[in-house]
Symmetry: D2
Subunit: 342 residues, 4 copies
Amino acid sequence: MIKVGIIGAGSLTAEELLKILLNHKNVEVNILHSETYQGKKVDSVWPAFKNLTDLSFSAPSLQKIKEVCDCIFITRPHGKASEVVKELNSSKIKIIDLSADFRLPDLSYYKKWYPGMNHQIPELLSKAVYGLPELFRDKIKKSSLTANPGCYATAVILSLAPLLKNNIIKKQIIVNAFSGVSGAGRMHKENFNLFGDIYGNLKIYKPGTHQHTPEMELTLGKLAGDEVKITFIPCLIPVNRGILAISSHPLENKLTKKDIIDIYQKFYKNEKFIRICENGYPEIASVAGTNFCDIGFEIDARNNILMAASTIDNIVKGASGQAVQNMNLMFGFDETEGLISH
Amino acid sequence: MIKVGIIGAGSLTAEELLKILLNHKNVEVNILHSETYQGKKVDSVWPAFKNLTDLSFSAPSLQKIKEVCDCIFITRPHGKASEVVKELNSSKIKIIDLSADFRLPDLSYYKKWYPGMNHQIPELLSKAVYGLPELFRDKIKKSSLTANPGCYATAVILSLAPLLKNNIIKKQIIVNAFSGVSGAGRMHKENFNLFGDIYGNLKIYKPGTHQHTPEMELTLGKLAGDEVKITFIPCLIPVNRGILAISSHPLENKLTKKDIIDIYQKFYKNEKFIRICENGYPEIASVAGTNFCDIGFEIDARNNILMAASTIDNIVKGASGQAVQNMNLMFGFDETEGLISH
Amino acid sequence: MIKVGIIGAGSLTAEELLKILLNHKNVEVNILHSETYQGKKVDSVWPAFKNLTDLSFSAPSLQKIKEVCDCIFITRPHGKASEVVKELNSSKIKIIDLSADFRLPDLSYYKKWYPGMNHQIPELLSKAVYGLPELFRDKIKKSSLTANPGCYATAVILSLAPLLKNNIIKKQIIVNAFSGVSGAGRMHKENFNLFGDIYGNLKIYKPGTHQHTPEMELTLGKLAGDEVKITFIPCLIPVNRGILAISSHPLENKLTKKDIIDIYQKFYKNEKFIRICENGYPEIASVAGTNFCDIGFEIDARNNILMAASTIDNIVKGASGQAVQNMNLMFGFDETEGLISH
Amino acid sequence: MIKVGIIGAGSLTAEELLKILLNHKNVEVNILHSETYQGKKVDSVWPAFKNLTDLSFSAPSLQKIKEVCDCIFITRPHGKASEVVKELNSSKIKIIDLSADFRLPDLSYYKKWYPGMNHQIPELLSKAVYGLPELFRDKIKKSSLTANPGCYATAVILSLAPLLKNNIIKKQIIVNAFSGVSGAGRMHKENFNLFGDIYGNLKIYKPGTHQHTPEMELTLGKLAGDEVKITFIPCLIPVNRGILAISSHPLENKLTKKDIIDIYQKFYKNEKFIRICENGYPEIASVAGTNFCDIGFEIDARNNILMAASTIDNIVKGASGQAVQNMNLMFGFDETEGLISH
């Protein structure tokens, strides 16, 4: 039984994290750090937690947290998370950071894609482990600072990794991705996440400039053994949870859908959270509320184009579920504990 | 004042068509042909029409319709529309067919993309005019049989025509398009259009095989002066009305967003229903309930990729609104009559 | 052709009002007063207006507005509208105020139901006309200051007026009403109108204390010739537009549904915007985007209870459409001009 | 570890039931009886079950089922369930019927409220136990045939039981209830559950005549020790899951909100699945996906009216979750097993 804290505990991802951790048999949550809500009971802020926990929010010092927690999840915004890591760094505490602050390998990427942010401890960038278990499981097991991937990055990387690893597609890639509005978090963003902004609507934003792009390019580049360039085009959809990522790729050789499925099934053999669609295509409804990533395909044989599509729940596999999967690896628990019932 | 009839008047597109025609100052609707609803008042079937019309559905013979109508809209399913056209053909009546039966130039395309359908009068395929006014206005003016384009085809062709006409993009194209559920019509389709199938969900269907593909390829091919190949990937979204089509294209030359906007503004000069987004990107919410097609762009300068996106209301510009636009041209009315108030 | 201005022109109701006024043949909009947007073109703020108007927002003095407008719509928040009316008062300009500032007949009601608001010109309270045309048409025709009713009040009063006028139900009434989120306007209200607050949810708020209650009680009380007491319970629904109001009433005498329909058809004889449902029940979908109010009934004969329900579009009949209906009366135009096409 | 079967396993409630039972540590599901899907793997019909179960649908004889199952859930439509119960009756198998066939105490009610249905074994009506654990826990523990309550009945009875037991409100009651579309099941019902029927809409249906009414009246009547009459008015909302029930009651004595909360907290003391809202009002979002029933109140002190409202997930506490709660009681398991993680 480890003691676990959440810093930035008033966030949407913290809420989901707490929901998962309360079902985790190896974990006791002992700190929910929130300056906004300190002193309040969780169920007074989020009525859905009534009868499920007696926990309250608090705002102890990081020094105190170091003493009482074995593991810390940080769900603060990017730019703010590195401040916390800097303080916690010298301790034996294991950290899973859900922000973007430690996802990129050096400061130049960070400055380019997160302009205006001041990273507080750039020397850790190269030491943090990118927490995508299906690709980096062994490193995560030994990690004490894990950077939880971006939601879009999770969906895109998982859908393309086998293709790039096996050198099946070109390295100049276009991906369209469609996300539920919870991806925008709990703060109001003008013209963006009021009900009236998105109901009955689709909303393309940041085409070509979204900050999850370099995670995708660098991670997929490693697998490809070559530079990968991605034009990433995100779009909000009138759904609360879920991401669908779609990309299409000219094939150099004739491959059948069966060939592609075989390649993915081999690549993701024994992966509990990856599901390859042999029939049909991935749907958001099948993964909502779960830590699964569903991946499916089609071949346009007329034009020899491969479509690959994946779906995840942006708050679970795209954030808090994956964070728990990382914790499970870092502490030697069953990787699915808290995420699939047994 | 012309006399207008609708055959297949119980359909969703007929309902929208009637709504538009009741506001049209040059038109009197005199026949709403529906076997299902014959004898019923329109407002008893569709309460939204109460106080707006006293019309009733009826089921007169086609012979009778020939005598009393100047113009007929056919909103029957593909395969069924050509039966009607065959009967009406020898008369002076002008026909606008909203089905797919007369969109393709010869029977081989029809047989390939609409397998199992028996075309009743294939000799008219080459005579029918493809009713996309922005591209074929002059032909439509003289047409007595206009094939109203598919909803997806309208959104895709309008978004790409200037690029292909000006030889800016390659002719091997991938398009993703997202449609509101009204595109599926009023009949139940299993796993497809029940509320529970699509709420909180996205649903890819027929990737690479959708029947609107050949309309796009042939029409854009004419503009390009060369064969155009399209991998078209449609997807249902939890919205009632609206289509967003997105495609991305490697550019051979460096072009700015301003360059692209200039090309489109020139191509669509004086077009009342085409709106080029100088800022932001097209949204479904801006076109819902209208006959507009909004088109917008972005350049991913890092990768020299052009994104083009368009939105329409699938039932208006993608069906009934465009049908009225065609009627206006065929009868010499103001092209916007009934579609934009003055 | 009258000259019309809108003050508070950046609001959601102003947007709808402009949409309607652009289709009105007797009106030229010459002022869109908005401090927030002054200098901007309407279509740069609201892309849906592109190709429909070249108007820009501006912020002239009220003195200037008095000189150039014949009619002013005020769509500022309650408390702020009376400031504007105070300034415009001495002129010959006719005013339609969409706020609550002039809906209640004396200051004591205002202070009780709008606590903390300072009314700037209470002496006008008794002179303003309550702008519900179906009940107060003759007064509105002569009015120079019309208080446009609240959206909920419109739906509730219209659904109950014939019952109270005919002394059919008790005067202690409970009404539940369900409103689309646009009723909350365009500003963020915490826990209330973010997409995630209301998607997949219903949200009861202010039960028994909503500020539209006194409008209902006083207006219906006048009809009843006696005090009417209403417990009004509003609730947000995951829809953008539309209100459904439902109330149930023990009947003293046995009445059939047909009896009730007759009473309503007589009461609302010749009313263009009231539609009595002879079959089925009112639905939001049938009135969305229109100025209609649909009203329907059922009798629970087992318990001798009458259910009355009404639907309106909260932004049209509940706000901007009704405001134009009032303007039409105040200026002697056809009452349906701009609201129903001819 | 008991062996459990589901008959009618292709239904929406069966799907949810299976999801819950797969997480239940005392249960092994061994039969998923479906004639429609027999021979198919569960995850080929419902992709969401991939990696979660290897079960397949089958269609063994009821004789066979009797031999291999300890417990059977029936999720067939009303009228069809009694056929199954008739066959299984003589065995030691324990039955939980999710249909309406055994909810009413004698045939006269059944014939009145389910006209046209032929009950196959009416002699069991008086022996079946009404499976609302919060009211009838002791009887359920000894039951071998439990009639799982209707979804609306669950929400309404739980929200009103303490008031009637304590003689606080009148026995002539009006309840409005709002249900997500999943309540309509998986079959198409005309004008009712297509996406386009309910998107952007509310849909009142069967006011005063819904078949769950007698369950409510009889169950609450028992508590009140007197006849209770309910006018029940259901309405579909554009949400997939969840019910909100609202009723308002004139109070004879002055009671505060605190008084009411005390009465409910006492009545539902130690109930794990009942949550009394001390602040705010019940929301569907807080109970979706859970077996909780949230109940909240307001007093309109001006008019001395009590509003009571409750929310449940119609598929969980309103169907499959409550069925598992009943099973837990019938087999002596922890009542929350499978329903709340520990």
